[in-house]
Symmetry: C2
Subunit: 244 residues, 2 copies
């Protein structure tokens, strides 16, 4: 069943007026009486369409849904801004895999340069990608996306800080990551930093280590920047959500 | 340092004549005296260029490299053939993550139809993608890629058979996958089957269960078909390669 994240306003009025109207009427070709799920990121309901036209979809609530498939820790992916549109796949797949938020991070070796107007446009686009991916994978929340300069980030708010560092893989350091995940506690805030294609510059690296980031190897192979976040999120889910 | 997989013939002649010549001379602009790594999927050597032109690159061996970053089990990804070019990303990222081989599998709900000539072309293209990804992530082997019809596959050769099954996630079944990975033994052959976008058809499902596939949920969320193999391979690496 389709799920839509709607605003508190739409929720109160029981009337959807966003872009989702197009999806409901033209893509799914829904009719009066059809059902879907709405969420305001807090409560979640099964609803039924009572009225619809090109501009709005009215619904009535059928029942509340109690469903939580969020990871037991809040993972923020600080992704060194990569080339091309890789960041879009990282947000899409990372949302499926349960990331809490994304900070595409402009680091010294990021090739992409963005001015304020580009940052605004990109942020809107990335937020839309996160919303659609969250709807498809039935997330309870939509991950927040905020582009930042590396030097303006305050990491002090995070309980655990993981640095994906390819030198650790080369040195055959295979302990830090698993040890860190095994020590995670419910609802902790986890920062995961991944460098861009060119890696992390020396001064940035010093700063990260000083701020308490733990350099971790992700298995025995060197991963591309766009694959690292998927490894981390899959491993966190595997360690914390699955039982044996 | 760049790595190239070369043929036994090239290895014996200490002379590369494949497409890699273009990469060595035009992309990397290498010169006589420059070094790179060659592998025939068995032995691996650091070599130095002794002579090069547009058609061939001759080298001499500097030293043997003893390096194994292969997963401790052989994982074959049977990927229900998906839409568009998703299969290419699955092969690329799956190779980075250590897959042993890929079988893009034409299943009942695969939208794509392929005749024999298309299968030949696609196989060549996918094998090239696997080779390049293997070189980039310094794999010891290049994963084999072979497109097959579901009904012609013989699964009897595999020790452990994992079925990525979204109904398992919906039923909140969170035991099978981790239990299976924890029981893996060195060098076992693992088959991982993932349905295409439309899922696995009922008869195919019955057949898989009958052949010993274990239905597994991959965490608490429904994953897209192209994300499932990355979750499985990351989790296998995490479980078997990392220590705590």
């Amino acid at each position: 069943m389709q799920k839509y994240f709607i605003s508190k306003e739409e929720f109160k009025n029981q009337r959807i007026t966003s872009d989702d109207v197009f999806h409901i009427t033209n893509v799914l070709r829904s009719k009066v009486g059809d059902s879907f799920i709405v969420s305001d990121m807090n409560e979640e309901y099964l609803v039924e369409i009572t009225e619809l036209n090109k501009k709005s979809v009215c619904f009535k609530i059928v029942k509340e849904i109690f469903n939580n498939n969020e990871l037991p820790v809040q993972v923020t992916i600080f992704q060194g801004y990569p080339k091309g549109d890789k960041i879009e796949d990282i947000i899409k797949h990372g949302t499926e895999l349960g990331a809490f938020s994304f900070v595409p991070t402009l680091m010294k070796r990021s090739v992409v340069k963005l001015d304020d107007s580009k940052i605004k446009n990109k942020t809107e686009r990335f937020s839309k990608i996160a919303k659609e991916a969250a709807e498809q994978s039935f997330r309870k929340i939509v991950p927040n996306v905020e582009i930042k300069q590396f030097k303006e980030i305050d990491f002090s708010d995070y309980d655990i800080k993981i640095l994906c560092y390819e030198e650790s893989a080369k040195q055959n350091e295979l302990i830090n990551f698993k040890k860190t995940l095994k020590a995670l506690k419910l609802n902790q805030k986890v920062a995961v930093l991944i460098g861009p294609e060119g890696g992390i510059e020396d001064k940035e690296l010093d700063e990260l280590i000083q701020k308490g980031f733990i350099p971790c190897a992700l298995g025995g192979r060197i991963l591309r920047t766009e694959t690292a976040s998927m490894y981390v999120l899959s491993a966190i889910s595997y360690e914390l959500e699955l039982k044996s």
